[in-house]
């Protein structure tokens, strides 16, 4: 079997994030949003704290495959410090990227390491793994907004 193909999906940056995820853990006193992927049983919990319209702290926790863990980890990097509006735009851009839609360069730049997960577009059954944390974050932000 050609390991090249595995490398297409599991880029080094993804493997590293999955092995040592950033912002993993729980915040006291911040509401938690939990989503699950019914097909694989993965569960991701995301907590977002917004101070002065900006994401001041973000954490995730839960069980999952390499893709969902890595995606959650890079997401926390990308969203930290962003305004709520900007974060929502980034989440939208990411959602497009992983289903193979074109995204303006300004967004891929800002998505940084997360843009690497665009490779998941070629693995349709894994897209849900990549988006799980981002959907949870979107939901968390939506609830803050209200």
């Amino acid at each position: 079997m050609s390991l090249l193909k595995l490398n297409d999906l599991y880029k080094t940056v993804i493997l590293e994030h999955a092995r040592a995820p950033h912002h993993y853990g729980q915040l006291a006193d911040v509401p938690a949003t939990t989503l699950n992927n019914p097909t694989c049983g993965d569960v991701i919990t995301v907590q977002v704290q917004v101070t002065a319209e900006k994401i001041s702290r973000i954490r995730f926790s839960g069980q999952g495959c390499t893709i969902s863990q890595a995606s959650a980890s890079v997401m926390t990097d990308v969203l930290s410090g962003q305004s709520v509006e900007q974060a929502q735009r980034l989440i939208q851009a990411f959602s497009k990227l992983v289903i193979g839609e074109k995204v303006a360069e300004q967004w891929t730049k800002q998505l940084g390491e997360a843009a690497v997960l665009g490779s998941v577009a070629e693995f349709p059954t894994r897209i849900r793994c990549a988006t799980l944390a981002w959907h949870a974050a979107a939901q968390a932000l939506g609830e803050i907004d209200e």
Binding site: M1, L6, I67, R126
Partner: protein
């Protein structure tokens, strides 16, 4: 069995996947279809297509004869005492829900008990759970031994005189174990309960005799038996079927209809409302013919060899956990496992890139996953048309995937 000739009967087995030969090891989800089945469906539409049970003209008679001949064939295949006790549904799931909606709805009282086992597929669990909720009945669960087999002491404890229905899989779609249906049937009947058997994972792998098993109902799907999707079977003891009001109404399941009242047709037409899946039934007939020509002796010899190669191969990896029995003698053609530190989804994707199709997930048995204390597992399942080379490719790919993730 001449395995390369048999593989030639299944054209998809000779295709490529992700640039590698397709190694199909998700047979427990659905089997591949021999050319004979594909052709039977095409031939039906090319030469004989008409609605059944309705037309006076020759084409309709041809379609009806072919359709009804498969009923005889199914009855013979599972050794039903009479053709009338067999009718066609959409799937195992449809068959099991039918029993819950008719027998269950018409016989259960508050306080009654329904007994299932800890290894049931959602399709033989959720219909009973929901029925129990509607009826204020109690759902009870027979536990498993540490090797995943039915705990007989638990069975004896759970099945009581309050039990009205025992619902159990003939073979597990996760653990590869076979449940002792005959013994369970005796126990159930001693307590005045009926036994409903989910045969989805059994019928393709062993001869089934519903009379010897003494099953009150026996359900299975065509698509897990080399046949097409969209066709299932329900066998029921005639005396039970005769007591039941149909679950669906319309089309030719009637003998007389007025605005006020409907008299139903005799069994089994009574239970086949509307136009059935005619081509699906005819395709199922071709699948049964194919299996009967091969014979279960040959099928079982081949599948036992493949299972031994698969199970023993997996057990040589020190970091692989196999769920269910660890001995081939107790093991059916389905093997669930996990690799330490690698998520099942990542294993399945890695294998897929090597052309190997296995399933990762809860296998529609979430409560069993809780019993096993894992969120999900990988599952490889064989059919007689798999080759030793398939298993070798799977094991080699698994080694490579392990190395990649553990690098």
């Amino acid at each position: 069995m001449n395995i390369s000739e048999r593989r030639a009967d299944f054209p998809i087995l000779n295709t490529q996947m992700n640039g590698e030969p397709l190694t199909y090891l998700d047979n427990a989800a659905t089997t591949q279809k021999p050319q004979a089945v594909i052709d039977a469906i095409s031939q039906y539409y090319l030469h004989d297509n008409a609605n059944v049970h309705r037309g006076v003209y020759s084409l309709a008679a041809r379609a009806t004869d072919q359709y009804e001949a498969v009923r005889d064939q199914v009855a013979a295949f599972i050794h039903a005492p009479q053709r009338e006790s067999v009718f066609f549904t959409r799937s195992t799931t449809d068959s099991l829900n039918w029993v819950a909606q008719t027998y269950g709805e018409q016989n259960l009282q508050a306080g009654d008990e329904i007994v299932v086992t800890a290894l049931e597929h959602h399709s033989n669990l959720v219909p009973w759970q929901q029925l129990a909720q509607r009826k204020q009945a109690q759902l009870k669960v027979i536990q498993l031994t540490s090797t995943g087999e039915l705990d007989w002491a638990s069975a004896q404890q759970q099945i009581t005189d309050r039990t009205k229905i025992v619902a159990v899989a003939h073979c597990s779609n996760v653990l590869g174990v076979t449940c002792p249906i005959q013994k369970l049937a005796r126990l159930a009947h001693q307590h005045g309960a009926i036994i409903v058997v989910d045969g989805a994972q059994a019928v393709a792998h062993q001869p089934v005799n519903v009379q010897t098993l003494d099953a009150d109902f026996y359900a299975f799907s065509g698509h897990k038996l080399l046949g097409p999707t969209g066709v299932g079977v329900l066998y029921g003891k005639l005396a039970l079927l005769q007591t039941l009001t149909p679950a669906q109404f319309g089309g030719e399941m009637i003998s007389n209809v007025t605005w006020e009242h409907t008299e139903f047709a005799p069994i089994p037409q009574r239970f086949e409302a509307g136009t059935p899946n005619i081509s699906g039934v005819i395709g199922l007939g071709a699948a049964l013919t194919y299996i009967q020509q091969l014979g279960f002796a040959a099928i079982q010899t081949q599948e036992r060899q493949l299972t031994a190669q698969l199970l023993n191969g997996l057990l040589t990896f020190p970091d692989v956990t196999v769920y269910g029995p660890q001995q081939v003698a107790q093991h059916g053609p389905v093997v669930a496992f996990n690799v330490d530190g690698i998520h099942p989804h990542d294993v399945a994707t890695g294998l897929d890139l090597a052309g190997v199709a296995v399933r990762a997930g809860h296998h529609c048995a979430q409560p069993l996953m809780q019993v096993l204390q894992v969120p999900t597992t990988v599952r490889a399942s064989v059919q007689f048309y798999n080759s030793a080379a398939d298993i070798a490719r799977f094991l080699a790919a698994l080694q490579a995937v392990k190395e990649f993730f553990q690098q």
